[in-house]
């Protein structure tokens, strides 16, 4: 084949670059294939806490989120969030840490402070607090008057996953318990 030197130089350049272009194309395609075929590590199949969860925290679906590195299409293999809902944390879980079913238990482990008692107070008059309060929160007590002291919430007890007719378990001293002599007239305020 007879061609002029310029064409020959152009063809030479094409031939010289062709392997590099093919290689670069394969690298891009190959990387895409690799991402699609990527072997999922068990560690990716998990939920993580959206915030700090105290011990005895009543878990709702908002408290957990699937690991961000797990692609959406693979999230179907995760346990259903409903399985976590209504259960209590067995230990403190920091934000971003994994939350597994093994970290939860069906009922809270109530353990009041030394010299205090655990007092269950129904929220039937303040149902909205059932959605807000959770273990580790602090509340104030308003009986005839509102006292300035803070009381720790040990746990929130709800009969169903839906937070209706909930009760809070408060960590109270004996003098504080006396203020609950007429529970109907007692209100809790958020601290």
């Amino acid at each position: 084949m007879s061609i002029n030197s310029l064409t020959q130089k152009f063809v030479g350049k094409l031939l010289r670059w062709l392997p590099f272009v093919l290689y670069a194309s394969w690298v891009l395609i190959g990387y895409r294939i690799l991402l699609e075929n990527q072997v999922r590590r068990p560690v990716q199949f998990r939920y993580v806490a959206t915030g700090d969860l105290s011990i005895n925290h009543l878990v709702s679906t908002e408290d957990i989120v699937a690991d961000a590195s797990l692609p959406w299409r693979d999230r179907i293999w995760l346990p259903k969030p409903a399985e976590f809902e209504g259960k209590y944390t067995a230990h403190r879980i920091a934000r971003g840490q994994s939350v597994e079913l093994a970290d939860l238990r069906p009922s809270p482990m109530i353990k009041p402070s030394r010299g205090d008692v655990a007092y269950a107070f129904s929220l039937e008059h303040q149902p909205s607090l059932g959605d807000i309060l959770n273990a580790g929160a602090s509340v104030g007590i308003c009986a005839a008057t509102c006292g300035g002291e803070s009381v720790n919430v040990l746990a929130v007890l709800c009969p169903a996953a839906k937070r209706n007719n909930c009760s809070v378990v408060l960590d109270l001293s004996l003098t504080q318990v006396a203020r609950f002599s007429d529970p109907k007239n007692v209100q809790l305020v958020l601290k």
């Binding site: 130089k9 063809v11 030479g12 031939l15 395609i29 190959g30 990387y31 690799l34």
Partner: protein
């Protein structure tokens, strides 16, 4: 430590073989490591191997060692072929022509640059003496004027800046500046004690240094271009790759200087070279280094291609893949550049061998030594005709 190990192994195998095994062993080890990362089955094999009792481990290790040795031997026989691929030796003539066009253009550019540099150098050398005299005469004339109003002009400043930046100086600009300086020196005195006069005096000195710099610069450029053409191009018959061109330089040198066909006489010349216990090991070492780099280069290419293709289908190594895809070619390029340097050195040694030992080869062939260069040229040609083509040219033989 490694040296001792190599020496011990050398007593069993040749040094070239032992050194040539290193790239292959590294290749096998790295492939094993990659396999361990991506394959659970391979991991289980390794665990099973490590759990074996000593006797089984010894047997298996021996079998593996034998396999590696056989593989090394097979691979060492492929080195020449692999080098020839890099030299573009087995390409289709059309493809080879297209690929070599780049080097033909490069050669033409270099030759043009060399021609220009030589011209400049010749001109500057011719003018240097007259410029110096011209400036000296002008200075004498100017000394009588008893006035000095000088300020360095922009062009001179630029030229001096080019000198300090080690850049080329345009000959016409230099010529113009010499003329300007001559005129200035004629009209101004350099011997008065004022700042302008002192600056003129200093600039005259700088001008002389500038001329000397221009000579040195073009001299160095001529040398550099000449060497580049001599070491990187086998005359006008250009190969399709850079390595191919460097590979053909020694053969072209022997052919063009002595009419000696190195393809035919290289093996015979090696026999003569072996008698020189200082030169031959250096030549062998150089060849060994070249083969080592060629093996390393090809094994890097093979390793990269294997894993760049395999990893995506394994679904493993999301972070490893980009490193491999970029690092592999980068490393290959580095090996290639180093191999080119080594090839240049090896080629130079072959040329030196031709210069120094070709007459010993004639002695070895019992052929009387030629009395001059022209006779030698004809002799090698005739010898080639007889040995390579079976021509019936008669030769006078010398009894030992």
């Amino acid at each position: 430590m490694l040296g001792t190990l190599l020496d011990k192994l050398e007593s069993l195998f040749s040094k070239a073989f032992v050194v040539g095994t290193i790239p292959l062993l590294t290749f096998l080890f790295l492939n094993g490591a990659m396999l361990y990362v991506v394959s659970a089955t391979f991991q289980n094999w390794i665990r099973a191997y490590l759990a074996l009792d000593t006797a089984h481990v010894a047997i298996l290790s021996f079998v593996l060692l034998m396999a590696v040795i056989v593989l090394s031997y097979v691979f060492s026989t492929l080195t020449t072929g692999l080098r020839e691929v890099l030299e573009g030796a087995h390409l289709n003539p059309f493809v080879a022509n297209c690929l070599s066009q780049r080097y033909r253009s490069n050669l033409a550019d270099l030759e043009e640059q060399l021609r220009m540099a030589r011209r400049f150098l010749r001109k500057i050398r011719l003018n240097r003496q007259s410029w110096q005299t011209q400036l000296a005469n002008a200075r004498t004339v100017g000394a009588a004027t008893k006035v000095c109003a000088y300020q360095r002009d922009k062009e001179l400043k630029d030229l001096l800046d080019r000198q300090s930046a080690n850049q080329s100086i345009d000959l016409s600009l230099l010529e113009l500046e010499v003329t300007k300086m001559t005129n200035t020196l004629t009209q101004n005195s350099t011997v008065l004690d004022n700042p302008a006069c002192r600056e003129l005096d200093r600039d005259q000195g700088l001008m002389l240094r500038l001329i000397a710099y221009a000579v040195d610069h073009y001299q160095a450029k001529v040398l550099q271009l000449f060497n580049e053409i001599e070491f990187d191009f086998p005359g006008q018959d250009v190969a399709p790759t850079k390595m191919g061109n460097i590979a053909n330089v020694a053969a072209y040198y022997a052919q063009s200087r002595y009419s000696m066909n190195l393809e035919i006489y290289w093996t015979r010349l090696q026999k003569v070279l072996q008698q020189d216990t200082h030169f031959y090991p250096v030549l062998q070492e150089s060849k060994m280094q070249l083969d080592f780099l060629i093996e390393l280069l090809w094994l890097t290419v093979i390793f990269t291609l294997i894993w760049v293709v395999v990893l995506p289908f394994c679904g493993e190594g999301v972070h490893l893949f980009p490193v491999l895809a970029i690092g592999g070619p980068a490393l290959t390029w580095i090996w290639y550049r180093i191999a080119l340097r080594n090839y240049r050195a090896f080629s130079d040694l072959v040329r030196a061998a031709v210069d120094l030992y070709r007459l010993d080869l004639l002695k070895g062939l019992h052929i009387p030594l030629p009395t001059n260069a022209a006779q030698e040229y004809v002799l090698w040609e005739a010898l080639e005709q007889r040995t390579a083509y079976g021509d019936d040219t008669n030769f006078l033989l010398q009894n030992p």
